[in-house]
Amino acid sequence: MMISLHYEVDGQDFALAGEASSNVKKVLKQLGVKPDIIRRVAIAMYEGEMNMVIHANGGIADVEITPSKIVIIMQDTGPGIEDIELAMKEGYSTAPDAIREMGFGAGMGLPNIKKYTDQLQIISEVGKGTRLEMTIFVK
C-alpha cells in the first residue's frame, strides 16, 4: 500500500512556498502518523521547498508514503551545488543578499534537512540541477 503525492513548487512566489509541506502535513495527520514524525517531515520538506524557491526557480516534489517510511524526492533544474560537503555546513549559504535581507538563506536548509531525516541522498550537477531524496522511517 502506497500513497503518492505530486507537487509543482512555484519558483516565483515566496508566499506559496510551504504549501506542499502543509498539504503533506494534513495528509499525514489523516493517516494517523505520529506527531513527531509529521513534524520532521514537514520541516525537512519546507526547507527543501524554500531551497528550490531561493536557488532554483522552483521544481517538483514527490512524496511516497508507505506504512514503514516516507520518501520525499525534490528535483529542480537550477544551478546545482558545487560543493555538497560545504553546502551541508551550518551557516554556509550562497543565497543572494536580497534573499538574506528577507530573513532566508541562513545556511540552515540542508543541515536541517539532514537533521530531521533518517536518510538523505543528494545528487547534483552544476548547471543542470539537484535531486534530493529524503527518507523518514515511520516506525
Binding site: M1, S21, S22, L31, G32, V33
Partner: protein, 436 residues
C-alpha cells in the same frame, strides 16, 4: 460526559438547517442532518464562531442561571476584565463592581488581579527557559482545545499555568475563607464570562483535575441586570485593586503588554490563530518568545456573550487601564508558590483527523477519499450538509454519508436511470420487432 461537555449547543426550534455555520466552523465540526445542524462533539472547540454567524440565533452558549449563586452562603463574583468595557460612559471600575455586587453578591474578586499573577508566573517560566519557545498563552481555552486536537507538536509550547479565571477562583476562596472564617465550601465563586469556552473549561478542566469555579454566568445576562441601576450609583464602594496590566488582559495585546516582552506577538480571531499555529508547527516562527492567541476578534472583549461592539469595548478598556495604577500585585515569584497556579495534569493529543487507527486502513480510505473527491463537482455548495466537497468525501469514507448526498451526484444518477428507462421502454419482444 465530562470529556464531551460543550457549552455551545443548538436550539432546534430556531435552526433552519442552512449552511452558514457549517462553512464558518474552523474544525468542520458541524453537519446538517434532517434539516437541523448537528455538532460533532469530538471536533467542537467551543470557539463560538457559529453563535456569531447564525442568522437565526439558533446557536447558543449554555451558562449557569443567575440564581445558582443563591445556593451558597457567601457569594463572590469573579468578573472577567472584559466586563469593564461594556458600559457606555462609565470609566470607573468601582461603579461597575458596586453595581455587580448589588445584584446579590457578598463580595467581588477581580479576575484582572489573577491575570497579573499569571503574567508574573509566565515571565518566570520564559526567563528560566522552563517552557519551549515560542511559549503559547494558555488563557484562552479554545486555543488549548485546538492544540489538543490538531497541533500535538505544540503541546510543549503551551504555558502550563492555570487560566486567570481558575487562579482567581483559588485566590478568592482562600483569601475570603481566611478573612471571614467560613469554610471554602460555603463560599461560592461565580465567573462572569464573555464566552462559551470558559463554561466548558469549568466542566472539563484543562491542566487540572477540578475547577474551583462554582458557576459561570453570562456577561450579557449580568449586563442587562446591571444596566437599570448603574447610573444611579453615586457613592461607589472602593472595591477595585487591579492594576493597568491585569485590566489590559481583556483585549488582544493586553497579555503581551503586561509581559513587557518585546519579542511577543498577539493574534486574535480563530482563523488568524490557525495560520500562526500552522507556521509554528513548521518551525517558521523563530525570533519570538511569547505568542498570545485568542479565538475571538479583539480578544475577550469580542466574546460571543459580550454586549458592546468589540472595537468600542477595546478602546474603553485602554482608557480605563490607563487610569489604573501601574503596580504589580506581587513582586516576587516565590510569593506565589502557595497559590497552586501550575497545571497538575499535562494536556494530551486527542486526534480527530485520522481516518482510521490502523495506518494501512487509513491509507485505503484516503485513496478512496481522493477518488470520491475527484468525482464531486468541487463547488463546496454545502447542500449535502457538509462544509465542502472534501469534507463530504471524508464523511463518505468514514461511513457517515453516501455519494448521493451530493445533489449533483444524485441528479447524475437520476439521469442515468431515466436513460435506462427510455432504452427499456423502446425494446420489443422478438415477435414484434421490425427486423431480426
Amino acid at each position: 460526559m465530562a470529556q464531551y461537555f460543550h457549552s455551545v449547543t443548538l436550539d432546534k426550534e430556531r435552526c433552519k438547517g442552512c449552511t452558514n455555520c457549517i462553512k464558518r466552523c474552523p474544525t468542520e465540526a458541524i453537519r446538517v442532518r434532517a434539516g437541523k445542524a448537528k455538532i460533532i462533539n469530538e471536533r467542537c472547540i467551543d470557539c463560538g464562531e457559529c453563535i456569531r454567524v447564525c442568522p437565526y440565533h439558533a446557536k447558543k452558549a449554555i451558562t449557569d442561571p443567575f440564581d445558582v449563586i443563591f445556593s451558597f452562603k457567601y457569594k463572590v463574583a469573579l468578573p472577567a476584565p472584559s466586563l469593564y468595557g461594556q458600559f457606555k460612559n462609565i470609566y470607573d471600575i468601582n461603579v461597575i463592581l458596586t453595581g455587580l455586587k448589588r445584584l446579590g453578591f457578598d463580595d467581588v474578586f477581580e479576575v484582572a488581579k489573577a491575570a497579573e499573577v499569571v503574567t508574573l508566573a509566565t515571565k518566570h517560566l520564559i526567563a528560566g527557559n522552563k517552557v519551549q519557545k515560542p511559549a503559547i498563552s494558555s488563557a484562552c481555552p479554545v486555543i488549548i482545545r485546538l492544540i489538543e486536537v490538531k497541533y500535538p507538536n505544540l503541546i510543549d509550547n503551551v504555558v502550563p499555568i492555570k487560566s486567570p479565571m481558575e487562579v482567581a477562583a483559588r485566590m478568592a476562596k482562600r483569601i475570603i475563607s481566611k478573612n471571614t472564617g467560613l469554610p471554602q465550601k460555603e463560599i461560592g465563586v461565580f465567573f462572569i464570562t464573555p464566552c462559551a469556552a470558559k463554561m466548558t473549561s469549568t466542566k472539563a478542566p484543562m491542566g487540572s483535575d477540578c475547577s474551583f469555579v462554582d458557576g459561570v454566568i453570562s456577561m450579557s445576562e449580568v449586563y442587562y441586570k446591571m444596566i437599570h441601576d448603574i447610573n444611579k450609583i453615586t457613592h461607589p464602594e472602593n472595591l477595585s485593586t487591579a492594576g493597568m496590566k491585569g485590566i489590559s488582559w481583556a483585549k488582544s495585546g493586553g497579555e503581551s503588554f503586561a509581559l513587557g516582552d518585546e519579542r511577543a506577538i498577539a493574534v486574535d480571531g480563530i482563523h488568524n490563530v490557525i495560520k500562526v499555529l500552522e507556521e509554528m508547527e513548521d518551525d517558521k516562527i523563530s525570533d519570538i518568545d511569547y505568542v498570545e492567541l485568542q479565538a475571538c476578534t479583539g480578544g475577550c472583549v469580542g466574546g460571543p456573550l459580550t454586549v458592546e461592539n468589540n472595537f468600542i469595548a477595546k478602546n474603553r478598556i485602554m482608557r480605563i487601564a490607563r487610569m489604573a495604577p501601574n503596580i504589580d500585585l506581587v513582586t516576587r515569584f516565590d510569593d506565589l508558590c502557595n497559590w497552586d497556579i501550575s497545571w497538575t495534569n499535562p494536556i494530551t493529543y486527542k486526534p480527530i483527523l485520522n481516518l482510521d487507527n490502523d495506518m494501512v486502513k487509513a491509507m485505503q480510505k484516503m485513496k478512496e477519499m481522493e477518488n470520491i473527491y475527484n468525482s464531486l463537482p468541487g463547488l463546496d455548495c454545502g447542500s449535502c450538509g457538509a462544509p465542502s466537497c472534501r469534507a463530504l468525501a471524508e464523511d463518505i469514507v468514514r461511513g457517515f454519508a453516501t455519494e448521493t448526498d451530493c445533489i449533483f451526484k444524485l441528479r447524475e444518477q437520476v439521469r442515468m436511470l431515466a436513460r435506462e428507462m427510455m432504452e427499456l421502454e423502446g425494446r420489443m419482444p422478438p415477435p414484434f420487432r421490425k427486423d431480426e
